[in-house]
Structures are given as structure tokens and as C-alpha cells.
Subunit: 71 residues, 2 copies
């Protein structure tokens, strides 16, 4: 692992969220996940599990694999 | 979600493990994860988190996104 996968995932998530033109608050509302949790994921502080990865991907209109592209 | 992502992920993991010609026991030894845990993941009973997805992908010589292809 050249870089912590949690950091890479967080950066990718933030990039896709911004492409969509959404704030963390909007992504939280749309996904039903807490904004504080999303903030932790985007900062690479959380080891997000499969079901939440899929939930965020669906909310953003992406395939789960697209969220893992940079890893 | 048409089908439980845990089930789809488990099937994909089992398929890639078999392509490699490995038993669950071998994948457990190579990855350092418990065989009982891997069995649960392959049966779709566990909500595997990012760091273990990356660990299994690296052990199998795949990109993490390849493990998410069917989701």
C-alpha cells in the first residue's frame, strides 16, 4: 500500500461529490448518512464498509467500482 | 440495490480466489485474515470494510476496483 487507502478513497469521494456540485451537507441528506460521518470518510479517518460504499455510489449515480478507482 | 452487495461481493471474491487456484485456507494464510472470516465474507454474511477489501485485492494481485466489478 503506497498510500493509506482510506485517504485515497476519501479524496475520490470528495472529487465525485464536487463533480456533482454537492456540499457534504447535500450528500448527507441524499444518502441518509450523517454529515459528520461523511466528513470523517472524506478526511480518510474512517474505514468505510461495503454497504456504505454502495450507498454513496448509488446516491452519486456511480458504480461502486468507480469509487475505488484510485486505490 | 437489486441484490445484496455482500452476496455479490462474496461471489466475486470466491471466483477470483478460484481463478488463482487457491483454497479459502490458502487465501487466509496469504492475506493474514482468518479462514472463518473469509468464509463469512464469501457467503455474503459480512459487511467487509475498505482496508480488508484492499488487503484481499493485493493478496490476489488485483486492483480493489476489480473486486467490486459485479456491484
Amino acid at each position: 500500500m503506497p498510500k493509506d487507502p482510506r485517504i485515497l478513497f476519501g479524496k475520490r469521494l470528495a472529487a465525485l461529490r464536487k463533480e456533482r456540485g454537492w456540499s457534504q451537507e447535500q450528500l448527507a441528506l441524499e444518502s441518509g448518512l450523517a454529515r459528520s460521518y461523511l466528513g470523517g470518510v472524506e478526511r480518510g479517518q474512517r474505514n468505510i464498509a461495503l454497504l456504505n460504499i454502495v450507498r454513496l455510489a448509488e446516491t452519486l449515480g456511480r458504480k461502486p467500482a468507480e469509487l475505488m478507482m484510485d486505490l
